[in-house]
């Protein structure tokens, strides 16, 4: 009996490996083009993207962008303290005489770093747990994972973060740890819901009946279909993590002085309201800008993954 694979000796199509490579690159270019088209339909998404990219660049090149980089460290200049915004100090100076703009630029660094690192810490395990619990729904592993997730979700998030942060030594890293502990369950829950729906799709059954390994099914069949909500959530979460991080430093549990942090700057500056309003208001506006940028970009990310009409 002749079988399918052996009959390939009669292959009529000739296509070289190089032509296949070209096809692959052409299709990648097309995918990127389409993705950009969908992202940029809404001009506000592009605005968001510009804001985010600018903030990232500013944070990376902080020492070169900030007008007074030394002010972001131990520095005092009481002669120039509490100067309102003007030509020399664009956002004014604080109660010790440090340039607020430069401190915001460096504070941006720790904020963005926190956002990125927390997500890097939280997303992979959260997603993995959600995939496993969702795929093996009703098995013991599902019960175990969902109960643990429920427990973490039951604790008011900010209280959990404060509790953890106050037990550990207060610094940026422990602040991130605290926020991570309260953040991972949201991803597990999101992916759990998506996975329980996806596992009933025919293409998953097709892989199962052919004998695909569980790893293949989780990571090659199911996970790619969950990327859209995950990435959209991540782009909006960065903003939230930054806010929570600022809240922690506002109460003194995050970045410690003299390192600049947007939260501590607002905390310090709140004492000088309303006369020296610039000390608190500009850092607050910086936070607003960060959140706005990521949220607008998040809309674009969601559009990018939206299914196209046939």
């Amino acid at each position: 009996m002749e079988n399918v694979i052996n009959s390939r000796k009669r292959l009529k199509t000739t296509i070289s490996a190089e032509q296949i490579k070209n096809l692959e690159w052409a299709s990648r270019r097309e995918n990127l083009g389409r993705a950009w088209y969908k992202f940029s339909r809404n001009p506000m998404s592009v605005v968001g993207l510009v804001i985010v990219v600018s903030l990232i660049l500013v944070a990376i090149f902080a020492p070169f962008v900030a007008p007074h980089p030394k002010h972001a460290g131990p520095f005092t200049d009481f002669a120039n303290a509490k100067i309102p915004p003007g030509l020399q100090y664009l956002f004014g100076t604080d109660q010790i005489g440090r340039d607020i703009l430069s401190r915001i630029i460096f504070g941006l660094r720790s904020s963005l770093l926190m956002g990125v690192l927390v997500l890097a810490l939280v997303v992979p395990p959260g997603v993995l747990l959600g995939l496993m619990a969702g795929y093996f729904q009703d098995a013991w592993i599902d019960t175990l994972i969902t109960r643990v997730t429920d427990i973490f979700l039951a604790v008011p998030p900010l209280i959990l973060a404060l509790a953890v942060a106050s037990v550990l030594k207060p610094n940026l890293w422990n602040g991130m740890l605290a926020v991570s502990l309260m953040w991972w369950p949201w991803y597990t829950r999101l992916v759990y819901g998506l996975t329980t729906a996806l596992r009933n799709e025919y293409f998953v059954s097709a892989a199962e009946v052919t004998g695909a390994s569980t790893a293949h099914i989780l990571f090659r069949e199911i996970l790619p279909n969950t990327l859209s909500p995950i990435l959209t959530k991540m782009s909006i979460d960065i903003a939230w993590v930054i806010i929570i991080g600022s809240m922690l430093s506002f109460v003194g549990l995050g970045v410690q002085p003299p390192e600049p942090s947007l939260g501590t700057m607002i905390a310090d500056g709140s004492r000088y309201l309303p006369d020296q309003w610039w000390i608190a208001v500009f850092p607050a506006l910086a936070i607003v800008l960060i959140v706005l940028g990521f949220n607008l970009m998040g809309d674009g990310v969601r559009d990018m993954f939206a299914a196209e009409e046939s």
């Binding site: 009996m1 002749e2 079988n3 399918v4 694979i5 009959s7 390939r8 292959l11 009529k12 199509t13 296509i15 490996a17 296949i20 096809l23 692959e24 052409a26 299709s27 799709e201 025919y202 293409f203 059954s205 097709a206 892989a207 199962e208 009946v209 052919t210 004998g211 695909a212 293949h216 090659r220 069949e221 790619p224 279909n225 990327l227 299914a307 196209e308 046939s310």
Partner: protein, 336 residues
Amino acid sequence: MTEDILTVSNLKKHFVIGHTGRFSKRKPITVKAVDGVTFSVHEGETIGLVGESGSGKSTVAYIAIGMYQPTSGSIRFRGQELFQDKNKRPRHLRKAIQIVYQDPGSSLNPRQNIKQILEMPLRIHQPNANHLEQIVYLLEIVGLPPEYMYKYPRMLSGGEKQIVSIARALATDPSMVILDEPTSALDVSVQAKTINLLLDLQKEFQLSYVFITHDLSLMRNVSSRVAIMYLGKICEVAETIDFFRNPLHPYTQMLLSSIPVVTEEEEELKPKKVISTGEIPSPVNVPSGCSFHSRCPFVMDICRQVDPVMVEAEPGHKVRCHLFTQPAPVSVAGPG
């Protein structure tokens, strides 16, 4: 007689979907999706499995392919029991039986391109071979150019998606393919092309097909034998020509009379005595006795109480209906 490639004996699949009552009076609510099905598939033939919602035809397919475990009964591939080891079906059996699903939209992973979709079975069953070459070949035998490799399912038409599903099924070099309503979601001109492709592939690779559909006109032109299912049981089995020339079961006649046809000639062929009435009962609440009695124009007292057994009304033509019960009925577990 050539050995049968698939032998199904008194196969049952019951799903428990909930419970009624409390404590000692607690009883499970069961859906008897498949309730005692027996038939065989000969090597190289196409057997049609016809039925409407609740008939259980897809469930039979899903059991054969390994998606469900049967509640009882046996299903053997070339004599080998498919469900010997409860947990793992051996690799050579997975290769041998493949399936093409009904809905082209959800049977292909929308986030994978065609190359990745076809690679999956190749990586499992032919880990060391040159997959690219095999993929180009698979595309060729189903009539798609190699450029399609990097396309995504959403860029393909419904017919093309089904063709990719067929290519995926062939990738494991199967002996039997279960086709679950492969063209129901397609337009009629695309259906013609797809069916012709399936028939060509069957000839070239000596495949056996279990062709599941609700479209009797299609069945007439594709299969050599037909089995009609209603609420989990087979009502009638016959060679195609006998079946259409002389449909015996009242449900079969009801099905045939409901088909919209395009020529006067076909209109003449439709049974006139039995017009469709009544709703299809839910498989949770199967009527007592013969499950069709609530809609049957020839219903007798015995139909409401006793479930008829399958009898051979003519050679090769079996029917399960009290109208044909002879004094000595042929037993259910007979040869296909």
